[in-house]
Symmetry: C2
Subunit: 304 residues, 2 copies
């Protein structure tokens, strides 16, 4: 029987393969698959598989990465509520994706599922989980937002009715650009440091979230991918992608600290858009679809 971390690793590798296959099928092109490993002597040992599709007809840049790192000692921040694990060796693994479509009517999507396992020498592993998914439209559609949130709620429903409301709120709080007083998108779910349920149930919840990504996103992508658009929509998409960059580089803890602490830069920055723009004090025309995005979509609200 595989160990707990091995079982999670097997699931995550399989999830990445399924997602990448769906990405390729939707786009009609092939991802680059780039296996990497950290050199001995670097602070963390680890390896991963970075899959990325660039300049496709449907996706302008879509990355899905798996990584697995091991370290000799859990950092103090990870064990402040678990003093018995202080300084234990650990393993962290996850799948992370961001898809940037070309058509401004198709939203950008982000998903992440991850596990940290403390591996004390004289006791069984202790695992905790994190992850979630969120959607960032450039043009808002109520139907899309409701479908995405319903998919999130349904994925969490077997694990307790409290999960979706809690994780939905957490997502709104996390994906917030304080310097713009804006949400990144229409939200979704986010959770971290999760070990409330026993291992088997927590891992089942993680699988349920990971498995929900494709059914949450593909129908939205399919119904928007052939929407005609012009220069105006493209310009607005590039401008809004600037916000995605701002969030990821200024506020996202994984990205910011990953870059500052010696993570693998090209894998961390899979999330960057292929092209983004900035302009001074851009204001959408009152009553426009662009104004509706700010007023009705990238705000905190209940979608279900």
């Amino acid at each position: 029987m595989p160990s707990q971390p091995e079982a999670v690793g097997d699931y995550l590798r399989g999830l990445q393969q399924r997602i990448v296959a769906a990405l390729e099928a939707a786009d009609g092109t092939t991802c680059v698959r780039d296996a990497w490993h950290k050199e001995p002597g670097e602070p963390l040992q680890g390896s991963g598989l970075t899959c990325i599709l660039e300049d496709g007809p449907l996706f302008e840049r879509a990355g899905c990465g798996f990584s697995q790192v091991r370290g000799p000692k859990l950092p103090p921040s990870a064990t402040q509520h678990r003093p018995e694990l202080a300084g234990a060796p650990f393993e962290a693994m996850g799948v992370s994706l961001v898809f940037h479509p070309r058509n401004p009517y198709v939203p950008t999507v982000h998903m992440n599922v991850r596990m940290i396992a403390a591996l004390p020498v004289d006791a069984p592993p202790v695992c905790w989980f994190g992850g979630g998914m969120d959607l960032t439209p450039y043009y808002g559609f109520e139907d899309d937002a409701v479908h995405f949130h319903r998919s999130c709620r349904d994925a969490l429903a077997p694990f307790g009715d409290d999960k979706y409301p809690r994780f939905k709120k957490w997502c709104d709080e996390y994906f917030f650009l304080k310097h713009r007083n804006e949400q990144r998108g229409i939200g979704g779910i986010f959770f971290d440091d999760f070990a409330e349920l026993e291992f088997a149930r927590s891992f089942a919840m993680l699988r349920s979230v990971g498995d929900a990504l494709l059914p949450a996103y593909l129908p939205i992508m399919e119904r928007r991918r052939d929407t005609p658009y012009g220069e105006r929509e493209r310009a607005f998409q590039l401008y809004r992608r600037g916000r995605y960059v701002e969030f990821n580089l200024v506020w996202d803890r994984g990205t910011h600290f990953g870059l500052q602490s010696g993570g693998r830069t090209e894998s961390i920055l899979l999330s960057m858009p292929p092209l983004a723009s900035w302009a001074y004090r851009q204001q959408p025309a009152p009553g426009s679809a662009e104004a509706a995005l700010y007023e009705h979509f990238i705000v905190r609200r209940e979608w279900l």
Copy 2:
């Protein structure tokens, strides 16, 4: 006679006007001039003038901002070497600019000159200074780098032979993308928390640096602005501008903490390029001009 902070404010406002006039003359267009002030009740009181030229024939985005803020109490970080000033009211002011030209053969330039004055109630103001300028080419030219560094050295020469070597090294250390193991550009000079000389001499040094920007940059801009370029050079420029974004949002203390602490977002982000791109593991062809940038220009070296 104006107070010390008033004299510095007068100089900085005049410097901004001279720079903006030169920018407009070079581009043949007009900047937007946007005067702003912080609302009462915000953590810092302040005002400023943001000047920005967007989508001009020569400059795709070029911003030059003046700002002046007052606070009731210096933060502890500012007074650890000056305990007698702990908690004193303060005033901070500066001019900051980033010019992003359209032609990839014209480098991006950044300059900042600033002063903080502690204003103890029962003693005269105590002022310290910071600033510098640095150049970020997309295609490297030895002549340009030498001219820029010579301008920096000459600006500092009257204030001691140690200044240029110290501030050049400081600049190399500051404008470094650790996550890429790359310099942002060919450097220049950077200094902070400067109060080694008496006020009159320190302020004269600040003026000498501020006044050096136009003669350091305009000749380079003039000799490159009509260089023909095509899609390849444009693509490389957009890709390298992504590095500019990464530096400013991840590593630049002024930008990162400004955004996190409630500064005026649109003024802080004057430095963002109008358009930037990201691509996975882009590598320039061996022997190309793009490879030469990495090998011979965005590395630490002595230019004089």
